[in-house]
Symmetry: C2
Amino acid sequence: MRQVDTLRRAPLTRDRVLRAAVDLADGTGIDALSMRNLAQTLGVVPMALYKHVANKEELLDGMLDVVVGEIDPPVAGTDWQAAVRERILSARRALLRHPWASRVLETRTAATPVVLQYMDSMIGMFRAGGFSVDLTHHVMHAMGSRILGFSQELFGTPPPSDAPIDPELGRQMAERYPYITEITTKVAHDDASVVGSGCDDQFEFEFSLDLILDGLERLRARGWTSRPD
Amino acid sequence: MRQVDTLRRAPLTRDRVLRAAVDLADGTGIDALSMRNLAQTLGVVPMALYKHVANKEELLDGMLDVVVGEIDPPVAGTDWQAAVRERILSARRALLRHPWASRVLETRTAATPVVLQYMDSMIGMFRAGGFSVDLTHHVMHAMGSRILGFSQELFGTPPPSDAPIDPELGRQMAERYPYITEITTKVAHDDASVVGSGCDDQFEFEFSLDLILDGLERLRARGWTSRPD
DNA sequence: GCGTGCTGGTGTACGCCGTACACCTTCCGA
DNA sequence: TCGGAAGGTGTACGGCGTACACCAGCACGC
Protein backbone atom coordinates (compact mmCIF):
# COMPACT_ATOMS: atom_id res chain seq x y z
CA MET A 1 0.00 0.00 0.00
CA ARG A 2 2.70 2.39 1.04
CA GLN A 3 4.79 1.25 -1.84
CA VAL A 4 1.97 1.87 -4.27
CA ASP A 5 1.62 5.42 -3.04
CA THR A 6 5.32 6.00 -3.23
CA LEU A 7 5.59 4.51 -6.66
CA ARG A 8 2.52 6.22 -8.01
CA ARG A 9 3.65 9.76 -7.60
CA ALA A 10 6.70 11.16 -9.32
CA PRO A 11 9.41 12.17 -6.88
CA LEU A 12 9.47 15.78 -5.87
CA THR A 13 12.08 18.00 -7.42
CA ARG A 14 12.78 21.66 -7.00
CA ASP A 15 11.46 22.16 -10.49
CA ARG A 16 8.20 20.33 -9.84
CA VAL A 17 7.71 22.32 -6.68
CA LEU A 18 8.24 25.62 -8.48
CA ARG A 19 5.95 24.75 -11.35
CA ALA A 20 3.24 23.58 -9.00
CA ALA A 21 3.58 26.81 -7.05
CA VAL A 22 3.28 28.91 -10.20
CA ASP A 23 0.23 26.97 -11.30
CA LEU A 24 -1.36 27.30 -7.91
CA ALA A 25 -0.75 31.04 -7.80
CA ASP A 26 -2.04 31.41 -11.35
CA GLY A 27 -5.15 29.50 -10.51
CA THR A 28 -6.17 30.57 -7.05
CA GLY A 29 -4.19 33.72 -6.43
CA ILE A 30 -1.03 34.43 -4.54
CA ASP A 31 -2.84 34.80 -1.23
CA ALA A 32 -3.94 31.19 -1.39
CA LEU A 33 -0.36 30.04 -1.83
CA SER A 34 0.82 28.69 1.50
CA MET A 35 3.37 25.99 2.11
CA ARG A 36 0.63 23.79 3.50
CA ASN A 37 -1.58 24.44 0.53
CA LEU A 38 1.11 23.83 -2.01
CA ALA A 39 2.12 20.62 -0.29
CA GLN A 40 -1.43 19.40 -0.48
CA THR A 41 -1.67 19.90 -4.23
CA LEU A 42 1.53 17.88 -4.54
CA GLY A 43 0.13 15.13 -2.33
CA VAL A 44 2.86 15.58 0.19
CA VAL A 45 3.29 16.78 3.75
CA PRO A 46 4.23 20.47 4.17
CA MET A 47 7.69 19.86 5.53
CA ALA A 48 8.63 17.83 2.47
CA LEU A 49 8.88 21.06 0.50
CA TYR A 50 11.74 22.21 2.68
CA LYS A 51 13.93 19.53 1.19
CA HIS A 52 13.75 21.42 -2.10
CA VAL A 53 13.47 25.09 -1.15
CA ALA A 54 15.05 26.68 1.88
CA ASN A 55 11.97 28.65 2.88
CA LYS A 56 9.03 30.49 1.44
CA GLU A 57 11.08 33.48 0.29
CA GLU A 58 13.24 31.21 -1.81
CA LEU A 59 10.13 29.58 -3.18
CA LEU A 60 8.88 32.97 -4.34
CA ASP A 61 12.27 33.76 -5.84
CA GLY A 62 12.14 30.54 -7.78
CA MET A 63 8.63 31.23 -9.00
CA LEU A 64 9.77 34.58 -10.35
CA ASP A 65 12.64 32.89 -12.09
CA VAL A 66 10.10 30.77 -13.92
CA VAL A 67 8.25 33.89 -15.03
CA VAL A 68 11.37 35.79 -16.06
CA GLY A 69 12.45 32.71 -17.96
CA GLU A 70 9.43 33.18 -20.20
CA ILE A 71 10.63 36.55 -21.48
CA ASP A 72 11.84 36.42 -25.08
CA PRO A 73 15.50 37.06 -25.80
CA PRO A 74 16.38 40.36 -27.48
CA VAL A 75 15.60 40.66 -31.15
CA ALA A 76 18.59 41.61 -33.25
CA GLY A 77 18.88 43.94 -36.18
CA THR A 78 16.86 46.95 -35.19
CA ASP A 79 17.60 50.24 -33.48
CA TRP A 80 17.93 50.17 -29.73
CA GLN A 81 14.58 51.80 -29.12
CA ALA A 82 12.55 49.27 -31.06
CA ALA A 83 14.53 46.40 -29.58
CA VAL A 84 14.11 47.59 -26.01
CA ARG A 85 10.46 48.34 -26.60
CA GLU A 86 9.78 44.89 -27.99
CA ARG A 87 11.63 43.13 -25.20
CA ILE A 88 9.81 45.06 -22.51
CA LEU A 89 6.48 44.29 -24.11
CA SER A 90 7.49 40.64 -24.06
CA ALA A 91 8.23 40.93 -20.37
CA ARG A 92 4.87 42.54 -19.93
CA ARG A 93 3.14 39.64 -21.65
CA ALA A 94 4.89 37.23 -19.29
CA LEU A 95 3.84 39.24 -16.26
CA LEU A 96 0.27 39.44 -17.50
CA ARG A 97 0.16 35.66 -17.74
CA HIS A 98 1.02 35.55 -14.03
CA PRO A 99 -0.84 38.42 -12.41
CA TRP A 100 0.68 37.75 -8.99
CA ALA A 101 4.22 38.19 -10.27
CA SER A 102 4.45 41.97 -10.15
CA ARG A 103 3.23 42.10 -6.58
CA VAL A 104 5.73 39.46 -5.53
CA LEU A 105 8.48 41.21 -7.43
CA GLU A 106 7.88 44.34 -5.39
CA THR A 107 8.62 42.46 -2.20
CA ARG A 108 12.01 41.09 -3.31
CA THR A 109 15.08 42.48 -1.64
CA ALA A 110 17.71 40.85 -3.86
CA ALA A 111 17.83 39.73 -7.45
CA THR A 112 18.35 36.12 -8.34
CA PRO A 113 20.95 35.13 -10.95
CA VAL A 114 18.15 34.71 -13.49
CA VAL A 115 16.96 38.26 -12.91
CA LEU A 116 20.50 39.59 -12.89
CA GLN A 117 21.02 37.90 -16.25
CA TYR A 118 17.96 39.63 -17.63
CA MET A 119 19.03 42.99 -16.25
CA ASP A 120 22.49 42.55 -17.64
CA SER A 121 21.28 41.82 -21.14
CA MET A 122 18.90 44.78 -20.89
CA ILE A 123 21.78 47.07 -19.97
CA GLY A 124 23.69 45.60 -22.90
CA MET A 125 20.93 46.72 -25.25
CA PHE A 126 21.33 50.32 -24.16
CA ARG A 127 25.11 50.18 -24.33
CA ALA A 128 24.92 48.72 -27.81
CA GLY A 129 22.53 51.54 -28.70
CA GLY A 130 25.18 54.11 -27.97
CA PHE A 131 24.43 55.04 -24.38
CA SER A 132 27.38 55.96 -22.18
CA VAL A 133 27.99 53.95 -19.03
CA ASP A 134 26.72 56.58 -16.66
CA LEU A 135 23.73 57.56 -18.74
CA THR A 136 22.80 53.89 -18.92
CA HIS A 137 23.02 53.75 -15.15
CA HIS A 138 20.47 56.51 -14.75
CA VAL A 139 18.39 55.00 -17.51
CA MET A 140 18.00 51.79 -15.54
CA HIS A 141 16.82 53.75 -12.53
CA ALA A 142 14.42 55.75 -14.64
CA MET A 143 12.94 52.64 -16.18
CA GLY A 144 12.37 51.14 -12.76
CA SER A 145 9.91 48.29 -12.78
CA ARG A 146 8.96 49.10 -16.33
CA ILE A 147 12.06 47.21 -17.38
CA LEU A 148 10.25 44.09 -16.21
CA GLY A 149 7.05 44.98 -17.97
CA PHE A 150 4.88 46.51 -15.34
CA SER A 151 4.22 49.91 -13.90
CA GLN A 152 2.92 49.79 -10.44
CA GLU A 153 -0.50 51.26 -10.77
CA LEU A 154 -1.49 52.77 -7.50
CA PHE A 155 -4.75 51.12 -6.48
CA GLY A 156 -4.95 48.35 -9.03
CA THR A 157 -8.22 46.76 -9.98
CA PRO A 158 -10.54 47.10 -7.01
CA PRO A 159 -12.19 43.92 -5.77
CA PRO A 160 -15.58 43.44 -7.42
CA SER A 161 -18.22 45.09 -5.32
CA ASP A 162 -21.89 44.17 -5.33
CA ALA A 163 -22.87 47.31 -3.47
CA PRO A 164 -25.68 49.19 -5.21
CA ILE A 165 -24.59 52.41 -6.87
CA ASP A 166 -25.68 55.30 -4.73
CA PRO A 167 -26.45 58.39 -6.86
CA GLU A 168 -26.11 60.65 -3.84
CA LEU A 169 -22.62 59.37 -3.31
CA GLY A 170 -21.84 60.07 -6.94
CA ARG A 171 -22.94 63.66 -6.46
CA GLN A 172 -20.70 64.01 -3.42
CA MET A 173 -17.81 62.61 -5.42
CA ALA A 174 -18.33 65.17 -8.19
CA GLU A 175 -18.41 67.93 -5.63
CA ARG A 176 -15.43 66.87 -3.61
CA TYR A 177 -13.22 65.60 -6.41
CA PRO A 178 -14.12 67.68 -9.45
CA TYR A 179 -11.02 66.86 -11.46
CA ILE A 180 -11.18 63.14 -10.89
CA THR A 181 -14.82 63.25 -11.88
CA GLU A 182 -13.99 65.23 -15.01
CA ILE A 183 -11.58 62.53 -16.14
CA THR A 184 -13.66 59.52 -15.21
CA THR A 185 -16.75 60.85 -16.95
CA LYS A 186 -14.74 61.64 -20.07
CA VAL A 187 -13.17 58.20 -20.11
CA ALA A 188 -16.50 56.51 -19.51
CA HIS A 189 -18.02 58.54 -22.36
CA ASP A 190 -15.24 57.90 -24.86
CA ASP A 191 -15.17 54.20 -24.23
CA ALA A 192 -18.70 53.05 -23.67
CA SER A 193 -17.75 49.39 -23.89
CA VAL A 194 -15.87 49.61 -20.66
CA VAL A 195 -16.86 47.79 -17.52
CA GLY A 196 -13.74 47.66 -15.40
CA SER A 197 -11.51 50.53 -14.45
CA GLY A 198 -12.29 52.20 -17.75
CA CYS A 199 -8.64 52.45 -18.67
CA ASP A 200 -6.87 50.61 -21.45
CA ASP A 201 -3.91 49.35 -19.45
CA GLN A 202 -1.94 48.36 -22.49
CA PHE A 203 -2.32 51.81 -24.02
CA GLU A 204 -1.33 53.49 -20.79
CA PHE A 205 1.70 51.27 -20.47
CA GLU A 206 2.90 51.94 -23.99
CA PHE A 207 2.14 55.64 -23.67
CA SER A 208 4.43 56.11 -20.72
CA LEU A 209 6.99 53.63 -22.01
CA ASP A 210 7.31 55.61 -25.23
CA LEU A 211 7.34 58.86 -23.30
CA ILE A 212 10.38 57.65 -21.43
CA LEU A 213 12.13 55.99 -24.36
CA ASP A 214 11.70 59.12 -26.48
CA GLY A 215 13.11 61.22 -23.68
CA LEU A 216 16.07 58.90 -23.36
CA GLU A 217 16.78 58.95 -27.09
CA ARG A 218 16.86 62.72 -26.95
CA LEU A 219 19.34 62.66 -24.08
CA ARG A 220 21.48 60.15 -25.90
CA ALA A 221 21.46 62.11 -29.16
CA ARG A 222 22.34 65.26 -27.28
CA GLY A 223 25.31 63.51 -25.75
CA TRP A 224 24.04 63.94 -22.21
CA THR A 225 26.82 63.49 -19.70
CA SER A 226 26.03 64.80 -16.24
CA ARG A 227 23.51 67.29 -14.92
CA PRO A 228 22.76 69.25 -18.12
CA ASP A 229 21.07 72.32 -16.63
CA MET B 1 -6.36 50.29 41.70
CA ARG B 2 -8.35 49.63 38.58
CA GLN B 3 -9.56 53.19 38.67
CA VAL B 4 -6.04 54.50 38.92
CA ASP B 5 -5.05 52.54 35.86
CA THR B 6 -8.06 53.68 33.95
CA LEU B 7 -7.62 57.27 34.97
CA ARG B 8 -3.91 57.33 34.41
CA ARG B 9 -3.91 56.59 30.73
CA ALA B 10 -5.64 58.80 28.22
CA PRO B 11 -8.58 57.10 26.56
CA LEU B 12 -7.91 55.49 23.23
CA THR B 13 -9.07 57.31 20.15
CA ARG B 14 -8.74 56.44 16.51
CA ASP B 15 -6.25 59.24 16.22
CA ARG B 16 -4.08 58.01 19.09
CA VAL B 17 -4.15 54.53 17.63
CA LEU B 18 -3.03 55.75 14.21
CA ARG B 19 -0.28 57.93 15.57
CA ALA B 20 1.02 55.15 17.76
CA ALA B 21 0.98 52.81 14.78
CA VAL B 22 2.94 55.28 12.65
CA ASP B 23 5.47 55.78 15.42
CA LEU B 24 5.83 52.06 15.91
CA ALA B 25 6.34 51.44 12.19
CA ASP B 26 8.81 54.31 12.00
CA GLY B 27 10.76 52.96 14.91
CA THR B 28 10.78 49.22 14.51
CA GLY B 29 9.73 48.64 10.92
CA ILE B 30 6.46 47.68 9.37
CA ASP B 31 7.05 43.98 9.88
CA ALA B 32 7.05 44.46 13.63
CA LEU B 33 3.67 46.15 13.48
CA SER B 34 1.09 43.64 14.62
CA MET B 35 -2.17 44.32 16.36
CA ARG B 36 -0.82 42.63 19.46
CA ASN B 37 2.35 44.63 19.34
CA LEU B 38 0.61 47.92 18.80
CA ALA B 39 -1.82 47.21 21.60
CA GLN B 40 1.06 46.57 23.95
CA THR B 41 2.71 49.92 23.26
CA LEU B 42 -0.64 51.52 24.04
CA GLY B 43 -0.94 49.56 27.27
CA VAL B 44 -4.10 47.89 26.13
CA VAL B 45 -5.36 44.49 25.14
CA PRO B 46 -5.26 43.69 21.40
CA MET B 47 -9.01 43.55 20.93
CA ALA B 48 -9.38 47.07 22.28
CA LEU B 49 -8.02 48.39 19.00
CA TYR B 50 -10.97 46.98 17.14
CA LYS B 51 -13.22 49.52 18.80
CA HIS B 52 -11.39 52.20 16.81
CA VAL B 53 -10.37 50.55 13.55
CA ALA B 54 -12.36 47.88 11.76
CA ASN B 55 -9.37 45.66 11.02
CA LYS B 56 -5.71 45.81 10.16
CA GLU B 57 -6.29 46.94 6.58
CA GLU B 58 -8.18 49.97 7.83
CA LEU B 59 -5.40 50.64 10.29
CA LEU B 60 -2.90 50.72 7.43
CA ASP B 61 -5.19 52.98 5.41
CA GLY B 62 -5.35 55.36 8.34
CA MET B 63 -1.59 55.33 8.77
CA LEU B 64 -1.16 56.30 5.13
CA ASP B 65 -3.63 59.11 5.61
CA VAL B 66 -1.35 60.46 8.31
CA VAL B 67 1.60 60.36 5.93
CA VAL B 68 -0.27 61.91 3.00
CA GLY B 69 -1.49 64.59 5.37
CA GLU B 70 2.10 65.69 5.78
CA ILE B 71 2.48 66.61 2.11
CA ASP B 72 2.60 70.36 1.54
CA PRO B 73 -0.24 72.02 -0.38
CA PRO B 74 0.53 73.24 -3.91
CA VAL B 75 2.58 76.40 -4.21
CA ALA B 76 0.92 79.09 -6.27
CA GLY B 77 2.40 81.48 -8.76
CA THR B 78 4.74 79.38 -10.81
CA ASP B 79 4.47 77.40 -14.01
CA TRP B 80 2.87 74.00 -13.79
CA GLN B 81 6.13 72.12 -14.12
CA ALA B 82 7.85 73.81 -11.19
CA ALA B 83 4.72 73.54 -9.08
CA VAL B 84 4.23 69.84 -9.77
CA ARG B 85 7.90 69.19 -9.26
CA GLU B 86 7.96 70.92 -5.90
CA ARG B 87 4.84 69.18 -4.68
CA ILE B 88 6.10 65.77 -5.65
CA LEU B 89 9.39 66.42 -3.92
CA SER B 90 7.39 67.36 -0.83
CA ALA B 91 5.53 64.06 -1.09
CA ARG B 92 8.87 62.34 -1.42
CA ARG B 93 10.12 63.97 1.75
CA ALA B 94 7.05 62.74 3.59
CA LEU B 95 7.54 59.22 2.30
CA LEU B 96 11.21 59.26 3.24
CA ARG B 97 10.26 60.16 6.80
CA HIS B 98 8.20 56.97 6.89
CA PRO B 99 10.16 54.36 4.97
CA TRP B 100 7.42 51.75 5.33
CA ALA B 101 4.83 53.91 3.61
CA SER B 102 5.69 53.17 0.00
CA ARG B 103 5.59 49.44 0.57
CA VAL B 104 2.24 49.68 2.29
CA LEU B 105 0.94 51.97 -0.43
CA GLU B 106 1.69 49.30 -2.99
CA THR B 107 -0.63 46.90 -1.24
CA ARG B 108 -3.67 49.19 -1.19
CA THR B 109 -6.58 48.28 -3.40
CA ALA B 110 -8.64 51.43 -2.94
CA ALA B 111 -7.82 55.03 -2.23
CA THR B 112 -9.06 56.72 0.92
CA PRO B 113 -10.75 60.12 0.76
CA VAL B 114 -7.52 61.74 1.90
CA VAL B 115 -5.60 60.18 -0.97
CA LEU B 116 -8.35 60.98 -3.44
CA GLN B 117 -8.18 64.58 -2.31
CA TYR B 118 -4.46 64.64 -2.98
CA MET B 119 -4.88 63.04 -6.39
CA ASP B 120 -7.63 65.46 -7.28
CA SER B 121 -5.55 68.50 -6.45
CA MET B 122 -2.66 67.03 -8.40
CA ILE B 123 -4.83 66.59 -11.45
CA GLY B 124 -5.97 70.16 -10.95
CA MET B 125 -2.39 71.36 -11.23
CA PHE B 126 -2.03 69.77 -14.65
CA ARG B 127 -5.37 71.08 -15.83
CA ALA B 128 -4.43 74.57 -14.66
CA GLY B 129 -1.17 74.18 -16.56
CA GLY B 130 -3.01 73.80 -19.82
CA PHE B 131 -3.31 70.03 -20.16
CA SER B 132 -6.41 68.68 -21.86
CA VAL B 133 -8.63 66.30 -19.96
CA ASP B 134 -7.53 63.21 -21.81
CA LEU B 135 -3.85 64.09 -21.85
CA THR B 136 -4.09 64.65 -18.11
CA HIS B 137 -5.60 61.22 -17.76
CA HIS B 138 -2.65 59.56 -19.46
CA VAL B 139 -0.30 61.81 -17.53
CA MET B 140 -1.59 60.45 -14.26
CA HIS B 141 -0.99 56.91 -15.44
CA ALA B 142 2.49 57.79 -16.67
CA MET B 143 3.38 59.38 -13.36
CA GLY B 144 2.29 56.28 -11.48
CA SER B 145 3.61 56.09 -7.98
CA ARG B 146 5.94 58.98 -8.69
CA ILE B 147 2.97 61.23 -8.05
CA LEU B 148 3.26 60.17 -4.42
CA GLY B 149 6.97 60.73 -4.28
CA PHE B 150 8.46 57.33 -4.79
CA SER B 151 9.56 55.17 -7.66
CA GLN B 152 9.50 51.54 -6.85
CA GLU B 153 13.09 50.59 -7.06
CA LEU B 154 13.32 46.96 -7.91
CA PHE B 155 15.37 45.34 -5.18
CA GLY B 156 15.62 48.20 -2.73
CA THR B 157 18.36 48.43 -0.16
CA PRO B 158 19.53 44.89 0.52
CA PRO B 159 19.61 43.83 4.17
CA PRO B 160 23.05 44.45 5.67
CA SER B 161 25.17 41.39 5.20
CA ASP B 162 28.17 40.50 7.31
CA ALA B 163 29.37 37.88 4.86
CA PRO B 164 33.02 38.36 3.94
CA ILE B 165 33.57 39.59 0.41
CA ASP B 166 34.68 36.72 -1.73
CA PRO B 167 37.01 37.87 -4.51
CA GLU B 168 36.35 34.73 -6.50
CA LEU B 169 32.67 35.50 -6.45
CA GLY B 170 33.42 39.00 -7.68
CA ARG B 171 35.31 37.59 -10.62
CA GLN B 172 32.41 35.30 -11.48
CA MET B 173 30.08 38.31 -11.32
CA ALA B 174 32.24 40.27 -13.74
CA GLU B 175 32.28 37.34 -16.12
CA ARG B 176 28.64 36.52 -15.98
CA TYR B 177 27.23 40.05 -15.79
CA PRO B 178 29.69 42.24 -17.66
CA TYR B 179 27.37 45.19 -18.13
CA ILE B 180 26.22 45.31 -14.53
CA THR B 181 29.83 45.13 -13.45
CA GLU B 182 30.75 47.93 -15.82
CA ILE B 183 28.20 50.21 -14.22
CA THR B 184 28.82 49.28 -10.63
CA THR B 185 32.56 49.72 -10.92
CA LYS B 186 32.10 53.08 -12.59
CA VAL B 187 29.68 54.24 -9.92
CA ALA B 188 31.93 53.02 -7.14
CA HIS B 189 34.86 54.83 -8.71
CA ASP B 190 33.05 58.13 -9.26
CA ASP B 191 31.67 58.27 -5.78
CA ALA B 192 34.29 56.90 -3.45
CA SER B 193 32.44 58.07 -0.37
CA VAL B 194 29.71 55.58 -0.98
CA VAL B 195 28.99 52.69 1.33
CA GLY B 196 25.44 51.62 0.52
CA SER B 197 24.02 50.87 -2.89
CA GLY B 198 26.31 53.44 -4.42
CA CYS B 199 23.43 55.33 -5.99
CA ASP B 200 22.26 58.78 -5.06
CA ASP B 201 18.57 58.03 -4.75
CA GLN B 202 17.55 61.66 -4.71
CA PHE B 203 19.44 62.33 -7.94
CA GLU B 204 17.95 59.27 -9.61
CA PHE B 205 14.47 60.28 -8.55
CA GLU B 206 14.82 63.82 -9.86
CA PHE B 207 16.49 62.61 -13.03
CA SER B 208 13.57 60.44 -14.03
CA LEU B 209 11.00 62.88 -12.68
CA ASP B 210 12.42 65.61 -14.89
CA LEU B 211 12.69 63.22 -17.80
CA ILE B 212 8.98 62.59 -17.56
CA LEU B 213 7.93 66.16 -16.83
CA ASP B 214 9.97 67.42 -19.77
CA GLY B 215 8.39 64.84 -22.02
CA LEU B 216 4.95 65.86 -20.84
CA GLU B 217 5.62 69.54 -21.40
CA ARG B 218 6.63 68.74 -24.96
CA LEU B 219 3.42 66.80 -25.54
CA ARG B 220 1.38 69.62 -24.06
CA ALA B 221 3.11 72.31 -26.13
CA ARG B 222 2.62 70.23 -29.26
CA GLY B 223 -1.09 70.02 -28.51
CA TRP B 224 -1.04 66.23 -28.19
CA THR B 225 -4.51 64.81 -28.51
CA SER B 226 -4.64 61.09 -29.19
CA ARG B 227 -2.11 58.62 -30.55
CA PRO B 228 0.19 61.13 -32.34
CA ASP B 229 1.68 59.20 -35.24
C1' DG C 1 26.03 -10.19 1.82
C1' DC C 2 26.13 -6.48 4.85
C1' DG C 3 26.67 -2.52 7.59
C1' DT C 4 26.66 2.54 6.67
C1' DG C 5 25.48 6.81 5.48
C1' DC C 6 22.89 9.89 2.47
C1' DT C 7 18.53 11.59 0.30
C1' DG C 8 13.97 12.74 0.83
C1' DG C 9 9.34 12.19 3.01
C1' DT C 10 6.88 12.25 7.84
C1' DG C 11 4.86 13.78 12.42
C1' DT C 12 4.74 16.68 16.05
C1' DA C 13 5.05 20.92 18.06
C1' DC C 14 5.96 25.98 18.83
C1' DG C 15 5.10 30.64 18.56
C1' DC C 16 3.32 33.95 15.92
C1' DC C 17 -0.71 36.18 13.48
C1' DG C 18 -5.72 38.43 12.76
C1' DT C 19 -9.98 38.51 14.80
C1' DA C 20 -14.94 36.45 16.35
C1' DC C 21 -17.59 36.52 20.35
C1' DA C 22 -19.23 36.97 24.91
C1' DC C 23 -18.41 39.57 28.81
C1' DC C 24 -18.01 43.46 32.03
C1' DT C 25 -17.37 48.11 33.39
C1' DT C 26 -18.41 53.14 33.19
C1' DC C 27 -21.05 56.85 32.35
C1' DC C 28 -24.67 59.77 30.38
C1' DG C 29 -29.33 61.11 29.26
C1' DA C 30 -34.31 60.30 29.95
C1' DT D 1 -33.20 55.52 38.81
C1' DC D 2 -32.63 52.96 35.14
C1' DG D 3 -31.36 51.54 30.33
C1' DG D 4 -28.34 51.31 27.01
C1' DA D 5 -24.44 52.68 24.45
C1' DA D 6 -19.31 53.03 24.29
C1' DG D 7 -15.12 51.12 25.23
C1' DG D 8 -11.84 47.83 27.40
C1' DT D 9 -11.18 42.57 28.57
C1' DG D 10 -10.47 37.44 28.17
C1' DT D 11 -10.76 33.43 25.82
C1' DA D 12 -10.54 30.87 21.86
C1' DC D 13 -10.10 29.44 16.90
C1' DG D 14 -7.99 28.58 12.72
C1' DG D 15 -4.33 29.81 9.98
C1' DC D 16 0.58 30.57 9.10
C1' DG D 17 5.99 29.42 8.58
C1' DT D 18 9.15 26.28 10.12
C1' DA D 19 12.52 23.80 13.83
C1' DC D 20 13.52 19.27 15.02
C1' DA D 21 13.55 14.42 15.57
C1' DC D 22 12.49 10.54 13.10
C1' DC D 23 12.43 6.96 9.55
C1' DA D 24 12.22 4.41 4.77
C1' DG D 25 14.83 3.28 0.91
C1' DC D 26 18.69 3.11 -1.72
C1' DA D 27 23.80 3.13 -3.24
C1' DC D 28 28.13 1.69 -2.23
C1' DG D 29 32.55 -0.02 -0.22
C1' DC D 30 34.17 -3.97 2.08
